[in-house]
């Protein structure tokens, strides 16, 4: 036998592609600039567009008059190779960021790209390898990156916080922040505040102890960790059993990006469900700080106040979704939160005081909340083996997908899911990395619908709704053009009149929406970008479409150049 032919050394896959490997240098994004993000509407430099999580673009070239001419400018396809974790549950969930014409966006399976925002050309890519067998409750997803300090930050499926060079995509540092053997994972879009990068835990269905962490943006050194379930003796520990181990597996994960008030220097973090999700018998008490908004001092990581939306949750009603900050006409600093439990809360964000609470969905059977905030559970799984049906189901009247605020109308546009579920309590012992629900759960396959609700947060009045055959499982976006953009589970991307809810435009993207659209402009041309790709926790929020086509394309729309 002759000597072997020399096959050489394996090379990066991207070297056999048209990817450039280099993005143009963009101006530096820092804390000062993010505080004033609204003043540069051509960019979208932080997850929600601005720290207040309003998801509003001040661009108005695409407006009620022109939107009918809106057309695809380019499409970017994520693609995949080989076996990857959650191969049937991946979804393109991110909100892209744009800085000076360069788009930074993450996709499923640990991928990050820099893309030319004008042409769609792939400038660089980075793919973090995550194990095939990492625990993922809700699919192979990532909600976005943070850009700043010359770097791009992503929290990976296997709970690593990585920092990449913004020009080349090369790795700068990689810090392990979660225990994959305990069932921890990562999906949140990081947030840059001051010299810090903020990320939160995921793994609430596996009985982990939730936490929010701050890292030095330059070095990756952890500055603080805030656990969202107290240890015995700490404030809030009295809401857990004295003699039990429940707090150790208590949940309260932080898998959605917090909003932030620079004057108060407070992060407003929503926390996830307690664990086990449906078996409250092993965790008597209110179970702080699960299902809460916690206001966390960004400098120290200390909890300043909290408001719990569903004490002693028995329905999987995470409150991780955004806390939208706005000011009342009298200047009062408020916070709006549409919870999974079907109620819309307005809080004073300086102290957590309840200002107003009202239902924003049609069907609530689990219990009720009085105008003064008193919670009365009515229907819940408390008897072993007995099925209990309730509305909203565990994905909630609104899941993590975000609402948006229009400063023009003063309204908040909420993507609403009307889906019920049946849970049957099935107690089980806790074992690390094994799902810890304490129930069998089947979400309704029919009798569901959805709508975009235009809600006045100052009165609780629903001004209009745009009804859809299927629940709304994607974020809304408002623009100064008087438009509300919304993707549907069946693939349509629609533009609604912010005043009336009239549908003015739609485009079929070929796969359902479960992401957060955004807007930017380059050389005076406005773009609307929306990742598409039906997936994630479909069995939770819309199992009636479990058989719908998957996808992983990023669509970017603009008006014709001529």
């Amino acid at each position: 036998m002759t000597d072997y032919v020399d096959a050489g050394e394996a090379v990066p896959h991207k070297t056999l592609s048209a990817v450039k490997g280099q993005a143009p240098q963009v101006s530096n994004v820092d804390y000062e600039r993010i505080q004033n993000a609204a003043s540069e509407p051509h960019n979208w430099i932080t997850y929600y567009g601005t720290y207040d999580a309003q998801r509003h673009s001040r661009l108005d070239q695409i407006n009620k008059d022109t939107v009918k001419r809106l057309s695809p400018a380019w499409v970017f396809q994520a693609g995949s190779t080989g076996l990857h974790s959650g191969s049937s549950t991946y979804s393109f969930e991110a909100s892209p960021l744009v800085v000076d014409g360069v788009m930074f966006v993450s996709g499923p399976e640990g991928k990050v790209w820099a893309i030319d925002g004008k042409t769609g050309e792939e400038l660089w890519r980075y793919k973090h390898a995550s194990p095939y067998d990492v625990s993922l409750c809700c699919g192979n997803v990532n909600r976005g990156v943070a850009v700043g300090h010359g770097k791009v930050y992503m929290y990976t499926l296997n709970a690593h916080l990585i920092a990449l060079d913004a020009e080349t995509g090369d790795l700068v540092w990689d810090v392990t922040n979660g225990d994959v053997r305990a069932g921890e994972s990562g999906s949140v879009a990081p947030l840059i505040v001051k010299d810090k990068v903020i990320v939160g835990s995921a793994g609430g269905e596996f009985g982990v102890r939730g936490h929010l962490d701050a890292f030095d943006a330059q070095t990756g050194e952890r500055q603080w960790r805030c656990y969202t379930v107290p240890k015995p003796g700490e404030p809030g520990s009295e809401t857990w059993p004295d003699d039990g181990e429940a707090w150790q597996r208590g949940g309260a994960n932080c898998w959605i990006t917090p909003s932030y008030d620079p004057e108060l220097e407070l992060l407003f973090q929503g926390t996830g469900n307690p664990a086990p999700d449906f078996d409250g018998g092993v965790r008597e008490g209110d179970n702080l700080y699960t299902d809460s908004t916690v206001a966390i001092d960004v400098n120290t990581g200390e909890i300043r106040w909290h408001y719990q939306f569903t004490p002693h949750d028995l329905w999987d009603y995470d409150s991780t979704m955004e806390n939208l900050l706005f000011d009342a006409p009298d200047g009062r600093k408020l916070l709006a939160h549409a919870d999974k439990n079907g109620y819309f809360f307005v809080l004073d964000r300086t102290n957590g005081e309840l200002v107003r609470v009202f239902p924003f969905v049609d069907r609530i059977t689990w219990g009720d909340i009085s105008p003064d905030g008193k919670v009365t559970p009515k229907v819940y799984p408390d008897e072993e083996g007995v099925p209990v049906h309730f509305w909203p189901g565990p994905a909630g009247g609104k899941e993590w997908t975000h609402m948006a605020y229009s400063p023009n109308t003063g309204l908040i546009y909420v993507p609403v899911q009307e889906v019920g579920a049946t849970a049957t309590r099935r107690r089980r012992e806790f074992k690390e990395s094994i799902p810890y629900w304490g129930a069998g759960v089947a979400v309704d396959l029919d009798d569901h619908y959805g709508f975009v609700a235009a809600i006045d947060p100052l009165t609780g009045e629903e001004k209009w709704r745009w009804r859809n055959e299927y629940p709304m499982c994607a974020s809304t976006l408002t623009t100064a053009g008087g438009l509300v953009f919304q993707g549907t589970p069946t693939g349509e991307f629609v533009a609604l009149d912010e005043q009336t809810g009239e549908k003015l435009w739609s485009f079929q993207c070929g796969s359902g929406h479960h992401s957060s659209p955004m807007s930017y402009s380059i050389d005076g041309r406005q773009y609307i970008a929306v990742p598409t790709g039906w997936g994630g926790w479909v069995e939770g929020f819309l199992p009636g479409l479990l058989g719908a086509a998957a996808g992983d394309a990023l669509f970017v729309f603009a008006l014709p150049e001529n």
Binding site: A7, A10, G82, L83, H160, V208, I434
Partner: protein
């Protein structure tokens, strides 16, 4: 590197699952041998994988590493057909083209613990049997662990 043998091998053979065009069309994934990487004094974990003639399998098809980190694979194609390997790697997957009777290397960085898969992404080599696992043991650093007492595991 060592390989293990067991009754399972006999069972797979009896069922016709361990070869090409026997009970099924291709070879059932994961039915090859198990190998263990050796860690060098430089901290790099090394192992060799071969594609035997007409078997369309990476042998061993399960490689076990003590922990995540830098690894170096020697890849040998003893087959009389052309294959390739696309391997997971932090930063970007790596690819190597392997003509008949060729030998090459792959230097990879992978985190642990956990399992990764790689395959020959030409035609349907992956489906016929050329999909294999890289398995990393170990624990995450103490700094990444939850502040709680040790918990029961399955």
């Amino acid at each position: 590197m060592t390989a293990t043998d067991s009754d399972r091998e006999s069972e797979l053979h009896a069922a016709g699952l361990d070869g090409q065009n026997r009970t099924a069309l291709g070879r059932l994934l994961g039915t090859g041998g198990i190998g263990y990487a050796e860690e060098g004094s430089d901290g790099v974990m090394r192992a060799t994988v071969r594609i035997p003639e007409d078997q369309l399998v990476w042998e061993p098809s399960i490689l076990v590493f003590p922990h995540g980190g830098e690894i170096e694979l020697t890849l040998i194609n003893d087959d009389k057909n052309t294959h390739c390997a696309v391997l997971p790697n932090n930063g970007d997957p790596k690819i190597i083209w392997m003509v008949n009777h060729s030998k090459g290397t792959a230097r990879l960085n992978l985190g642990g613990p956990g399992t990764y898969y790689y395959g020959s992404t030409t035609g349907n080599d992956e489906g016929r049997g050329l999909t294999a696992a890289l398995v990393f043991g170990g624990e995450v650093p103490d700094s990444a662990k939850l502040d709680r007492p040790p918990q029961p595991r399955p």
